[in-house]
Symmetry: C2
DNA sequence: CGAAATATGTCAACATGGCTGACCTAACTG
DNA sequence: CAGTTAGGTCAGCCATGTTGACATATTTCG
């Protein structure tokens, strides 16, 4: 099993299971599985969105507004990491078609705080339900702490610079949601 | 800290750690982390590609051809799940600029088997190196079996229909690579 | 052998969703 | 009041996905 032709000094532990990770060899499996998993993760939602005349960009906006009602446009731009022109295009359609509404900020009247309508929430929850079913099914095939393991792995893949913001967003949205329910 | 206003009847086991997963509540954290993780996972490579005048689509083609030298066009289409017209556009550029070459199949002369050139391999390995660094760093922050846990989670997210094919692809490419080295 | 199936390539047109650059209004802040 | 900030908008470009139609070479099968 050990590669006897390798210089002894570079001897290396097996990384996981029986897959030996040779020195400097890319971590092919995770790289590729991120592609395959993400590809399949989004397609189901895409199919539903297509029936509404929406695309993936609409989904993202709707998702994050639903998760964080009253969020500012600037916050949404920061999460999506796109330009306000790109956001404007899809946001306008969501507003025009009654999925999202904008309310003037109470303190700062320049702000247009974003909220989903009942219709918007319904679609957002439907899409979240599809993705949840996939994730729940996946986690159910794995061990009892698979959720925590997956969460920690994904957080560690996020840019160090963004990590704090991402975790803060999730925690804040969770907290707000618990209060509402 | 506990939400004392919540109705007692809906009390639910904690799913993982201290995050209570209520009945029918979407698995927000994993859904969102897949978005954030994937977003950050690809941007570094995108930046390098931009300097070469390439995009994410070129990356995928180059990556999979590098991983599976001699693969058929049809196999690549099946992996990427795009149309041959979409593939054709980027493949042509990669061939014209000397990153990929096509060889007539020995058995079936209709086939155009795909190989990376030295130049193509160099770029593919550079990009894989960037992504590997991110993954390796992430895994190093986690426990010793994090690689296996991440792998199993990602495989479980893949469509059941595709799972076998994906695993076969990875195993085949790994095997071929080991033989070459 | 000849017909049909297969592997691949290509043209044209279109949709989505990124981007830059320029410019605008309304409202807040010092 | 001057300058900054939050947000919107117009115009145009680019990358990458789609459909549909069709062409060419090669293999396979009756």
């Amino acid at each position: 099993m050990a590669d006897l032709t390798a210089p002894a000094a570079t001897d290396q532990k097996p990384a996981s299971g029986d897959r030996a990770a040779r020195q400097d060899e890319p971590i092919w499996d995770i790289i590729e599985l991120l592609f395959f998993a993400y590809r399949d993760f989004v397609t189901e939602a895409d199919d539903v969105l297509a029936k509404f005349g929406f695309g993936r960009a609409h989904h993202r906006v709707l998702h994050f507004v639903n998760r964080n009602p009253g969020m500012k446009v600037a916050e949404l731009l920061d999460i999506l990491k796109i330009t306000k022109q790109s956001l404007g295009r899809v946001l306008k359609q969501l507003v025009d078609q009654g999925y999202v509404i904008q309310k003037e900020g109470a303190n700062d009247r320049r702000q247009r705080l974003l909220y989903v309508t009942a219709k918007g929430e319904s679609l957002a929850m439907k899409l979240a339900g599809l993705q949840t079913a996939r994730v729940a099914h996946a986690l159910s095939e794995l061990g009892p702490n698979a959720h925590e393991a997956a969460r920690r792995f994904l957080v560690a893949i996020v840019d160090a610079d963004n990590r704090e913001g991402v975790l803060r967003f999730i925690a804040r949205a969770d907290r707000a949601r618990r209060q509402r329910s």
